[in-house]
Assembly symmetry: C2
Homo-oligomer: 390 residues x 2
Amino acid sequence: MFELKNSEHESPLPSTATMEEKLRQFEHLTRFSQILNSTLDPDLVREKALEATCALLGCETASLLLVDFKTGELYWETALGEKGKELKKSVRLPINDRSIAGYVTMTGESLLLNDVESDPRHFKQDKKFRTRTMICIPLKAKNRVIGVLQALNKTAATPARKSQHAWADFDADDLRLFETLGHQVAIAVENSHLYAQLKKSFYDTVEALAEAIEKKDRYTGGHTKRVVYYSMCIAKYLDIPPDEIDRVKLAAILHDVGKIGIEDKILKKAAPLDSDEWPVMKQHPNLGYEIMQHVDGIKDVITAVRCHHERWDGTGYPFGLKENEIPLIASIISVADTYDAMVSTRPYRKGMPPKAAYEEILRNRGTQFSPIVVDAFIQAFQKEKMGKQF
Amino acid sequence: MFELKNSEHESPLPSTATMEEKLRQFEHLTRFSQILNSTLDPDLVREKALEATCALLGCETASLLLVDFKTGELYWETALGEKGKELKKSVRLPINDRSIAGYVTMTGESLLLNDVESDPRHFKQDKKFRTRTMICIPLKAKNRVIGVLQALNKTAATPARKSQHAWADFDADDLRLFETLGHQVAIAVENSHLYAQLKKSFYDTVEALAEAIEKKDRYTGGHTKRVVYYSMCIAKYLDIPPDEIDRVKLAAILHDVGKIGIEDKILKKAAPLDSDEWPVMKQHPNLGYEIMQHVDGIKDVITAVRCHHERWDGTGYPFGLKENEIPLIASIISVADTYDAMVSTRPYRKGMPPKAAYEEILRNRGTQFSPIVVDAFIQAFQKEKMGKQF
């Protein structure tokens, strides 16, 4: 059996054992491809790419460097495995032939090195980590190199002792297999980046418009940005999934856009509103709803905008909803919005100190505000330094 | 050699030929996975999925049905192959056990049928098309069935005559292979849908805000929507890639957002502006730029917004740019915007008939407007019925 597995003497017609090995690798590759593409979260894609590298090639660790197209440098994005956490993430490399990763990025060609330490291009990033063997492959998407993926220190199948690694050399089969995985990684990285960029453009554009709408009211400059920040701080301490966090953010950005429909003499008034003016001002959550009601994909966000002035005890507006009738996102924005209103200075009154506003929020737990949101706010206030951010 | 390839008598330890065949299939599968995931365009993903099905399974045609989660029905999304174009796309199926696709969607289990016509669930969509054999697999993403993929009419490797198909049966290997492809297809379809939905939410939200900003000016209601429509009609007749089309759309949506910074007495004036008011009104392209200047991902769009009142002969504003100094996107919006202004009725004048406005655009080819954009406008006007849309 031993002779059959010797892939170094591979014949043009491969032996059955080699074919079985290849088949097993392809099965792995197919599974990794599914895992890699199952998410559009860039962090998760990168993590899965490194796990796949280690599992497929049987190596000690792996690392991923990506091109920063603004500076023309490579940066250490992620490293994994037993020794991976020791690699520093802040290191940046120029794209030239003076480092292994730089060379592979520049030429678009893979490198297989079984004596890394003797290579003049080897960049010793960490004294405690010894790189013995390496394959470095370029990641190509849309005809350009977007980064490199490195497999480091191939381990032998059977170590001498359980606690020790036995080292092996990478071969041409490893290289071919790794390059096939690399195609999948490049696509998954590129797709997740495209998705993240689109989301960023979306939120940034909407925030820019919301800020412009808000600036009609000269006394609340920066209010939108702050409510977004406070809402995200609070959301962090509630047990909600990432896509719900996204909706909190968008609702916080959009919460006051209805103010575009409020006449300037009320919106810009440099004194507290009187009893005729309040009912007009109170229309803004509904006006926000009306502006966006036909946007199909963000129904929960629009509902939250409409309900951000509801109160836990049912005395809020526009509907007088009570307790869990109020969407969680609206309850989050309600706390963030009220906190910002209290600490902000108006022409007719000075802003409260953060600690006093914090106490006031706590005093209204269960009357004005959702108890669980106030509990998250307490944690956010203590751990996120909310009072010192602006 | 013939005996070796007989997969019907497959032993537990597969023969070398079977392994070779499997290896070849995995290589194809890996390549198809790359192709499928290389795009986030839903139409392209679906087309590639059907091509991959036909190539991998060696069948006459393939079809894809997706679940409409709003109505709880299946709809025929795409069909491909020699006979594929004959399948009707408008047919909708309920999700129940009375059709093959409905059954597979309902149960989440694949069906392999080598005598489709005798199956009571067979839905004969087209009299001219005969379905002989079929595998129908569910497409699963995030633990729900999002649709089904069907491979139809397996062809034998060697037809009796060149012009004819020889038919074969699907076997368990085909099913397993198809299910593996199905995982990749489901992921690629889901990712492309998520991307398309995010883009739609982005554009719809921004359009809603832009319309709200525009409505400050009561005489131009619907102007944004129309400029978007006209711009897209014109862009269709210019040789530009899909992502540039996206930028045209976003710039058209955003072209007048700077008007939020113009005081109401000028913006809402029910008469032509006087010589003091015009310079104020002319600030709106720059104000739009200022609002959005920090949005990183849409630089070209912001530049186009800033330049949509430049003129080809250099007499426009804010910069007096000339000819190809003006970005193409801005030149497109300029024609669309001017055309809409001419055909729209103002309190102090009636809108022109579309044909007269069309002649006026042509008269200004090479002075006010970019010649190539006017040429595209001519085609759009004649073929897209621009004048009759609103």
